[in-house]
């Protein structure tokens, strides 16, 4: 399904659903696209929720340029909801998407029903080595991010999704990002300053206990800033929790969003 935001075409998957009730917006991480959400998107669509698994501007099939500030993505999210005719939505974000959800809840409280933050850290510092490689569109940036995003166990596979090798899946998604997009995203994460942000909506935090990108301690730090958040910890799971533990992540979202 296509929308128009700021004069640019924006793609969002509806998870094969057509329902219009209680919208859920899924927001992907740095350099990724909507396809990381395929399983939860299809689940909630089947259960009668309106689903938008969006490609952020400049990502996936969406036109436009990647933003350089998380706050800009948060405000863009509000304009996307306008374009979709949605007054209020739950926003589910992974990694950079979790920052966008966090900022959206802080800046557009009245438009936000709930947030679910997967693999999160506020702030979200990015190592200079990764930023430098991404700046020159060096494949080493993809290798670093992809390697660090999977737990030691995940490096050897054993995926619940039959036949899927998650390391290459993550690599291919990042390879599809247009030049400069991954660096813009990582820079936006690195620069996000939310010291003064206040988030008061109901929140879920999903933490991978073997997450090297946004360590468990950082996720718990985010939780400490939220009023009575629900926390779900996934033992031995890395940052790429949607591919490492698809069923457990969906269970966490389902229990929170029912």
């Amino acid at each position: 399904m296509w929308y128009e935001v700021d004069g640019n075409r924006v793609f969002a998957s509806h998870g094969s659903g057509s329902a219009m009730e209680r919208p859920i917006l899924f927001v992907h991480g740095a350099g990724m696209d909507h396809s990381i959400w395929v399983m939860p998107a299809r689940h909630f669509a089947r259960h009668g929720r309106r689903v938008l698994a969006v490609d952020l501007p400049g990502h996936g099939r969406s036109e436009g340029s990647a933003a350089t500030r998380i706050e800009d993505y948060a405000d863009w999210t509000a304009r996307l909801l306008d374009a979709a005719g949605i007054e209020q939505a739950t926003v589910v974000g992974h990694s950079m998407g979790s920052l966008i959800a966090f900022a959206f809840a802080a800046r557009h409280r009245e438009r936000c029903e709930r947030i679910a933050l997967l693999g999160t850290s506020v702030p979200m510092p990015v190592t200079e080595r990764l930023l430098s490689a991404a700046q020159t569109n060096d494949h080493a940036a993809i290798d670093m991010a992809n390697g660090w995003s999977h737990s030691p166990r995940g490096q050897l596979g054993g995926n619940d999704n039959p036949g899927h090798w998650m390391l290459t899946s993550g690599e291919r998604l990042l390879e599809r990002a247009r030049p400069g997009v991954f660096h813009a995203d990582l820079s936006a994460c690195n620069a996000f300053d939310a010291r003064d942000a206040v988030v008061s909506v109901p929140a879920l935090i999903v933490i991978g206990d073997a997450d090297q990108m946004t360590p468990a301690k950082a996720g718990l730090g985010v939780a400490a800033r939220l009023p009575d958040p629900r926390i779900v910890r996934l033992p031995a799971c890395g940052h790429s929790m949607l591919s490492e533990r698809p069923n457990e992540v969906l269970d966490a979202l389902r229990d929170f969003l029912r």
Binding site: M39, A41, Q155, L156, N159, D160, H164, T168, S169, R172
Partner: protein
């Protein structure tokens, strides 16, 4: 990142959570119990990860599939009943009646038969081109072309495919490149790294390595931009067989392999037995060790044959006399495979005498066994091809194909020497 030899042993497997079994168990079960009704519905709707029914997926097969995806650099793989089933699955996932394929003319005889004679009955036509003429692949493209196909090493001529160049031609035309990598395995070449989009194997051969099972694997590189091509209607148009799902819209890099499993494996049903998957996994554990020995032995055999007066011509890309040696050194740095062919002086009669006098080389229709094998293509694997097609594929009356095994190479050379002496008497 974990390296190839380690992935050959570990990728996709973990000790069994129920029993602690270190080897991958054979899950000999047709179906799998659902924890609840919503989970069951979720599995059917591709929103849950798990197994429903062993035609669609099976835990043992899933380990093999994941391991092959890891070794070939793909996003996912599907194990099939045979290599031909993998080929059929790839074609039918992308092609419908009225569609067209461009393929190398130097192919395994069974694949040539499928493309030349069987698929046309279902409205899918193929144009065959010289695999060394890269531009010919592009010239053969029609508006209805959906796929390009070739083997890493032609059969039985051992032409080395210039995968990067053919991939560039395919992508310029907006079609994916499917490669049969049976002769090379991911140990010798990973075609996806060179630009191919899809890879298939007859796992019967070097992957299982011992000539005891029939199986195939289809690997999706996740590299092709399905939604960016106008030539991929099966992935870009609503599929009535799955509630109008548009696979490229939802599954991104895994669009092809998802449709292949949810349609082709489901409806055509050419799945692999989990016992077969277990046996192939045993073979893959030693793939790097075996392939290294295979190619070393083959190089010795090729050089030996080339030095014999009763041999007119040896075709092996590891030889300086082969037209593609430079390409082989670039694309196959660890070796040019373990299959070679040669023309024996004296034609069919000499070939017959040679084959029937061998002791260690078994006369049978297969390659990739730990034991050495021999065959006469014109009368066996390629007998369905007419004279013109045989000539175009470089298959003459005296052509003999060897699959060099893991024996002591000195014993193999002795066996071949005896055969050549017998052939000389038959001339």
């Amino acid at each position: 990142m974990t390296r190839f030899d380690t992935l050959s042993l570990h990728a996709g497997s973990r000790p069994d959570t129920a029993t602690g079994a270190r080897a991958t168990p054979i899950y000999q079960s047709a179906s799998f119990v659902f924890p609840d009704t919503d989970f069951a519905a979720g599995l059917f709707n591709i929103e849950r990860a798990g197994h429903v029914y062993s035609r669609l997926s099976n835990p043992t097969n899933a380990v093999l599939e994941e391991r092959m995806a890891a070794l070939d650099g793909g996003v996912a793989a599907i194990a099939t009943a045979s290599g031909q089933a993998a080929m059929h699955l790839a074609v039918t996932t992308l092609c419908s009646a009225g569609d067209h394929i461009v393929a190398s003319r130097s192919l395994y005889g069974g694949t040539h038969n499928l493309l030349a004679y069987t698929l046309p009955r279902f409205g899918i036509e193929t144009t065959f081109v010289d695999p060394r003429d890269v531009d010919a692949f592009g010239r053969a493209v029609r508006p209805e072309t959906r796929l390009m196909f070739a083997e890493t090493l032609g059969n039985p001529g051992l032409e080395v495919l210039d995968v990067p160049s053919v991939a560039a031609v395919a992508h310029a035309a907006g079609v994916p490149l499917l490669i049969d990598s049976t002769f090379t395995t991911p140990y010798l070449m990973r075609p996806i790294e060179h630009g191919a989009d899809l890879v298939l194997h007859s796992a019967t051969k070097f992957l299982s390595g011992h000539g005891v099972v029939i199986g195939g694997v289809l690997v999706d590189g996740g590299t092709f931009d399905w939604s960016g091509s106008t030539r991929c209607p099966t992935l870009n148009e609503p599929y009535a067989g799955f509630h109008d799902l548009v696979f490229a819209d939802e599954f991104g890099p895994a669009a092809f392999i998802t449709r292949a499993r949810k349609e082709g494996l489901r409806d055509f049903g050419a799945c692999m037995s989990p016992t077969t998957a277990f046996q192939i996994l045993q073979g893959i554990e030693t793939l790097p060790l075996r392939m290294a020995r295979h190619v070393t032995n083959t190089q010795h055999v090729a050089e030996f044959l080339e030095s014999q007066s009763g041999v007119e011509r040896v075709r092996y890309p590891g030889l300086a006399s082969h037209e593609d040696q430079a390409l082989a050194q670039r694309l196959l740095p660890l070796g040019a495979g373990a299959v070679l062919s040669f023309d024996i002086a004296g034609g069919r009669a000499a070939a017959r005498a040679f084959i029937e006098s061998l002791t260690l080389f078994s006369h049978l229709a297969n390659v990739g066994d730990a034991k050495s094998l021999v065959i006469h293509p014109a009368s066996t694997t390629h007998h369905r091809m007419d004279t013109d097609a045989l000539r175009a594929a470089g298959i003459g009356e005296g052509l003999i194909r060897l699959s060099v095994g893991l024996e002591d190479v000195a014993d193999l050379l002795d066996d071949l020497q005896r055969g050549l002496r017998r052939a000389e008497k038959a001339r």
